[in-house]
Symmetry: C2
């Protein structure tokens, strides 16, 4: 199966819905808005990249960076998955933000609140040193905003030691669940605590490497590194993203 060429111009407001990126169940949780997709991509720290090698799927966690409508992945030149991807592989890139646990009165209706993006596409190897530099900067700024000006940029030798690929953000969709449990009416009166436990990624106290260089203090972007994934805490009713609806039948986010 090949990726269908999307008929919409790059930068359009929506990813083009395709059969394989359109929810058939709980359609109200699906979303093709580029702004929603980008917000999830920009908040995530890790993606899970899937490729198929002779029919066998492999899924690996990777860092990533977004520049406009392109997603960048990279690794060492010896990385097996990246070597496949450098030859132009179909990939699935999934980013999941876990916002909370949903405790229902019945086992069946337990669920999770989450925001996820699934992107499908074909990777292209990036060989241009300038593009690799831009993607490296974007990666640092994505993970730790403000960091790139404090680091030594990659040398040409270092750039060449990195295998980098780009994929278009063209085919894909977001999926979002927010809110509390949806129990059966007959369970609502049962003497059981039900509700949500919001989850977020919290930063602990930073650990310096070695002795502080003279005159160097802990940067603000380290000291006040922001928490991520508070979508479930700030708005248990689901106000943080339009188009999100309550309603759960299964525990699995993928369900």
């Amino acid at each position: 199966m090949r990726v269908a060429v999307s008929p919409h111009p790059p930068g359009a407001d929506e990813l083009t819905p395709t059969d394989r990126t359109t929810l058939r169940r709980k359609k109200e949780r699906g979303n093709h808005d580029r702004s929603v997709v980008n917000a999830i991509l920009d908040e995530g720290l890790l993606c899970h990249v899937g490729i198929s090698v002779d029919g066998t799927p492999f899924v690996m966690p990777m860092a990533y960076a977004r520049i406009g409508d392109a997603l960048y992945l990279h690794g060492a030149t010896g990385n097996r998955m990246l070597r496949h991807m450098a030859q132009g592989a179909e990939v699935c890139v999934t980013v999941t933000l876990l916002d909370g646990l949903v405790l229902a009165r019945s086992a069946f209706h337990h669920s999770m609140n989450f925001r996820s993006v699934v992107l499908l596409g074909t990777t292209v190897r990036v060989d241009d040193d300038d593009e690799k530099r831009r993607a490296t900067t974007a990666l640092l700024e994505h993970i730790v905003p403000g960091r790139s000006i404090h680091t030594r940029p990659p040398s040409t030798e270092e750039l060449r030691a990195v295998l980098m690929v780009r994929m278009p953000i063209e085919e894909g969709s977001a999926k979002i669940r927010t809110g509390g449990p949806i129990d059966e009416p007959e369970d609502l009166g049962s003497p059981v605590w039900a509700g949500q436990i919001p989850l977020s990624i919290a930063a602990g106290e930073a650990v310096i490497d070695g002795a502080p260089p003279p005159g160097v203090v802990e940067p603000d972007y380290v000291r006040a590194y922001p928490a991520r994934g508070t979508g479930g805490r700030a708005s248990p009713g689901g106000a943080h993203l339009s188009g999100a609806h309550r309603g759960a039948r299964v525990v699995a986010p993928g369900g």
Copy 2:
């Protein structure tokens, strides 16, 4: 490609190393110990499941439960991926715990601390109601220890509305990075803050659904829901799991 049948008896201390689960680079980060693999599986809340459909990879987040040497996945009977898996699909299940960000003096040596497990295997549909009940209990106890005794167990009708598959925890490996940045010697004197930002999953204040039933208080397992993923904070030197070593060349955990 088919999964090689592992020659070791179930429950042995190690997953059998195979070519496709053995690290070829940074071998010191790889681990086939069953105890290490299980600890990561038990700490994770979500896995990312990959399947290949006509050569196209799909990766979805899912909840999971472990019972001994078996992993359980489930969802609605209409779930496309689960329908493939119910027919006996090769899958890759990856669990990633992000423990921290590693800020080096050079852009090139930025990295992340993480613990991940990659499992390969073939799924088998679970039709036995008792096995489905046990897996449902295991799932609740995995996500919120103590929860299962407070919930109405699934009815037979609800059990039948869930598509469940099992995969053996047989072929796979763990990969772990801990510790601070590994910079080039010539960068060590540069006037740049370098170190780690530990990350963990923190629980916020729980949000009750509806009015509290008379006499029902917030359970301890909700009020004191434990943080997860503190591997990077508690032991920046890497003491929390044996066999873990420092040493990074790429930013991507998958690199």
